[in-house]
């Protein structure tokens, strides 16, 4: 794992202009992904994880969405300054993405092979024959049984786990240096989840590619990731290496998330929850977004938005009163 920065998202703002008002889905997100690193992006549903990934790829549905500010530096180039054609040539080749629902993520009326070959031909400018060979190799790499037969199948003839393998095969077929994986295993059953995660990790390590792994399962982060960024209501509240965040979570929200993981050794405990609900994205609370739910909130928290502070090597938190130890 190099120390070189691959992706740097600075003060990103993505808004949705709806009839209910302006939804500030992303309101000042900062992220760093180093080369070859697996960064976990965690947070409750609706905090803006998917929109962050879509903003990076330039795929925010517009209207109603728009990236309103910030910088997205990828391999030193600002993606927000690219033309649509330039972005198209980056998508699927230098940055690839896989999604949560493998069942609906492939076109139902085309064969798996045709959909793979289409992408390979597009980015690698090769003949159909050699694209087909590469597709077969990729299916082999994702440990697909009988790749030759799979090429001729339609998506509805494969299971969810198999389809997610196909999605990974397509995503990695053009050797991206960054893979955006938006809850790639949430829709799969538990045994398949672990297989897919391990497979993804293996293939990524082999290629020295980086991953932005979106999930709301901290267990997945602990097993798979090198670093983690915690999102809350459109902002990143804490980021650092997996060890330091799991050992000493500094943001009360992160701490709350960790306590929500059920501990099997204490069976009688009721499931812990963070009190309150996610704030309304149209009228977010002033100051720290988390203060209405925070047990240590003060008047400062409700007025001033906390700046990032460093609490350890590579460990940054946005809180006026970070937890210690």
């Amino acid at each position: 794992m190099g120390e070189k920065l691959l992706l740097q998202v600075e003060d990103l703002h993505t808004y949705f202009y709806t009839l209910q008002g302006v939804i500030k889905a992303i309101d000042g997100v900062n992220l760093c992904v180093r080369e070859g690193e697996i960064l976990g992006l965690v947070g409750e549903s609706g905090c803006g994880k998917s929109v962050t990934a879509l903003s990076i790829l330039g795929l925010v549905p517009s209207p109603p969405g728009r990236v309103e500010g910030g910088r997205i530096l990828f391999e030193g180039e600002d993606l927000l300054a690219k033309t649509p054609a330039e972005m198209r040539s980056i998508r699927g080749s230098r940055i690839a993405m896989i999604f949560q629902e493998p069942m609906s993520s492939l076109n139902p009326v085309f064969r798996i092979g045709d959909q793979m070959i289409e992408v390979i031909k597009l980015h690698k400018k090769v003949s159909t024959g050699s694209a087909r060979i590469q597709a077969l190799e990729m299916l082999h790499e994702v440990r697909m049984p009988d790749p030759e037969a799979v090429l001729a199948k339609y998506p509805f003839q494969l299971s969810g786990g198999m389809l997610q393998r196909v999605m990974i095969a397509i995503a990695l077929s053009c050797e991206p240096s960054l893979l955006l994986a938006d809850e790639p295993t949430t829709a799969l059953d538990v045994t398949v989840q672990a297989q897919i995660l391990n497979l993804m990790k293996d293939l990524i390590r082999k290629r020295n590619a980086a991953v932005l792994l979106i999930t709301h399962a901290l267990g997945v982060v602990a097993q798979t990731c090198d670093a983690v960024s915690v999102m809350y209501a459109g902002t990143v509240v804490e980021s650092g290496s997996v060890e330091s965040i799991f050992r000493s979570p500094a943001h009360p929200y992160t701490r709350g998330l960790m306590e929500c993981i059920p501990d099997p050794s204490r069976k009688s405990d009721k499931l812990k929850i963070i009190p309150g609900t996610v704030p309304d994205p149209v009228n977010p609370p002033p100051g720290c977004r988390f203060h209405p739910r925070c047990y240590k909130a003060t008047a400062t928290c409700s007025q001033i938005r906390p700046d990032p502070v460093r609490v350890g090597p590579g460990h940054v938190v946005c809180c006026h009163y970070p937890e210690e130890g």
């Binding site: 790829l57 795929l59 198209r88 699927g92 690839a96 609906s104 085309f110 597009l122 509805f156």
Partner: protein, 337 residues
Amino acid sequence: MNMVTFVSRRLVAMVPVLLGVTILTFLLSHVIPGDPARLLVGQKASDEVVKRMREELGLNDPLHIQYWNYLKQLLRGDLGTSIRNRRPVVQDLAERFPASFELTFVSLFICVIIAIPLGILTAVRRNHVVDHVTRVLALLGVSTPVFWWGLLLLLIFYFRLGWLPGPGRIDLAVPPPAGRTGLYILDSLLSRDWRALGSSLRHLVLPAFCLSYVYLAIMTRMIRSSMLDVLNLDYIRTARANGLPERAIIFRHALRNALVPTVTIVGLSFGELIGGAILTETIFAWPGLGSYMVDSVLFLDFPAIMGCTILVCLIYMTANLVVDIAYGFLDPRIRWG
């Protein structure tokens, strides 16, 4: 499941439906007020003649025997004799059907080749000028009765400007093309009868335009909305995330899926129009099934009405079958499911 099994299964499923229709048309002929025998021999015939006619028609047999005989007659392809013109109904239908088929086919063809690009364009450029203009035109098409358009078109292009011929399938001075299909365009092309071709094409313009306008409106809106639905689906997002150009996304990935509901509309419209283009056929004196049916109804010509009903039903079912086969080609889930 392969295509042959699929089609043959559907064909078998058509049999009970057809039987049901024959029962209905048969009963229909028995609930009509008045005596078919009297209708057939005319008002001035003596009672003796009517009685002999009743015998001859088997009208004194029990109902199920009569139905059985009717069915046997149907299976021989005999639809009875028209009361109005004393000709076999089959012969009338064989003359009328090609006229309706030609008009319907050309109308729907015009429809499809305009509606598909227009539907895509208005979906992709939604709320731009084209979209608004199409919306207004579509509204006009759906809300204005077809006979109004027909009369307007005749008034302008036939009476006032004289650019296009009026009623009929072909100029009176031009002999219809030789050929056995009865489709004037096809026949004249096959027999290289350019005069007949020109004349029948010119006669087709107004009624075809009139008929296609209403369906064009519906179809364009339909393609637009199914296109918009499809463009919001996950696999389109995947295609974008894979860097595919917009062209490929719209024409390859979205269109094929969006065409499925369109095929339904085209197929059903075909079934509907072939016997149901009554107003258009009447206004343009088009000798098709629709106008034949109207005339038969006005004359209480029951053998003709029943023949038409069965034929239209058959066409409708065939159109449905073709739609299902087309589904199978467009969507593998149906083919294999």
